[in-house]
């Protein structure tokens, strides 16, 4: 399956900015298609960023997030060359993850 998460992480001082582009339809389940049939919900549900065993960021999302969203999180607890695991699960149970190496600014 094609990688649907793209991201990078840059650290400056004690803060690391993780920027993500997640390719996802983020259907909220309320829209109707051209034939007037409802489009079933299919959106990001859980998103985490972890450094080893330490979870740096955890989010629970609804269909109110845009399609193919760009998301940015500024977190503490990472330094240059750390490898962060970004993982999501959507409402259909699809799981994807990406490892990003933290760059120095």
């Amino acid at each position: 399956m094609a990688q649907t998460i793209r991201g990078r992480a840059v650290t400056a001082g004690d803060t690391t900015e993780v920027r993500l582009l997640i390719t996802h339809p983020n259907e909220n389940g309320l829209r109707k298609d051209g034939d007037g049939k409802p489009v079933p919900a299919h959106h990001l549900k859980q998103l985490t960023i972890a450094n080893g065993d330490v979870v740096l960021m955890r989010a629970r999302l609804s269909g109110g997030i845009s399609k193919d969203p760009v998301l940015a999180f500024r977190v503490q607890g990472a330094k240059a060359n750390d490898r962060l695991l970004v993982a999501y699960e959507d409402t259909k149970g699809n799981k994807e993850s990406l490892t990003v190496t933290v760059a120095a600014s």
């Binding site: 955890r58 989010a59 109110g64 999180f73 977190v75 503490q76």
Partner: protein
């Protein structure tokens, strides 16, 4: 060290599954067991969201902020910044007051002292956005009105 080949195989299987368990521990679903938050996502009215979360937010002290445009041309993609730096922070909840599913996102502080994020959200019509922060000292909220010129329902 191992008596038989069978033992060795079992050991490596156990090690493999332990590795998988650690990986699973990092996966979102394994760590999220917050019934109140799940109930809040099912709510369709702002008051029901707050009731499900069990919070009655007070006016926010400095340290809680929502950054949103005054006017958004495209309701399908509204850039939002959320910031919270409060003692005993547990989570922040972003609520679109007139969205069909008002609760847009809940960001958990985990062990961090602050939450600082940028999101892109959908808004169907002009309405207030509300950011509720839950801390060990109670809940606080700020809000910001965003005018929408093209609705986000088609997004």
């Amino acid at each position: 060290m191992f008596d038989t080949q069978a033992h060795s195989t079992r050991r490596s299987l156990l090690q493999a599954s332990a590795g998988a368990a650690i990986a699973a521990g990092l996966w979102p679903t394994a760590v999220l067991a917050n019934d109140a938050v799940e109930a809040a996502f099912a709510a369709r009215k702002v008051d029901d969201v707050l009731a499900a979360l069990g919070v009655a937010p007070k006016a926010a002290p400095p340290g809680l902020g929502i950054d949103a445009p005054d006017i958004a041309e495209n309701g399908a993609v509204v850039p939002i910044g959320v910031k919270a730096s409060l003692p005993g922070l547990e989570y922040v909840a972003l609520i679109g007051e007139k969205n069909p599913v008002p609760l847009i996102a809940v960001l958990f502080a985990e062990r961090q002292s602050a939450i600082d994020a940028n999101l892109r959200i959908k808004m169907g019509e002009t309405s207030n956005l509300r950011l509720v922060a839950k801390t060990r000292d109670g809940a606080f909220a700020v809000s910001k009105e965003v005018r929408i010129t093209v609705g986000g329902c088609a997004g």
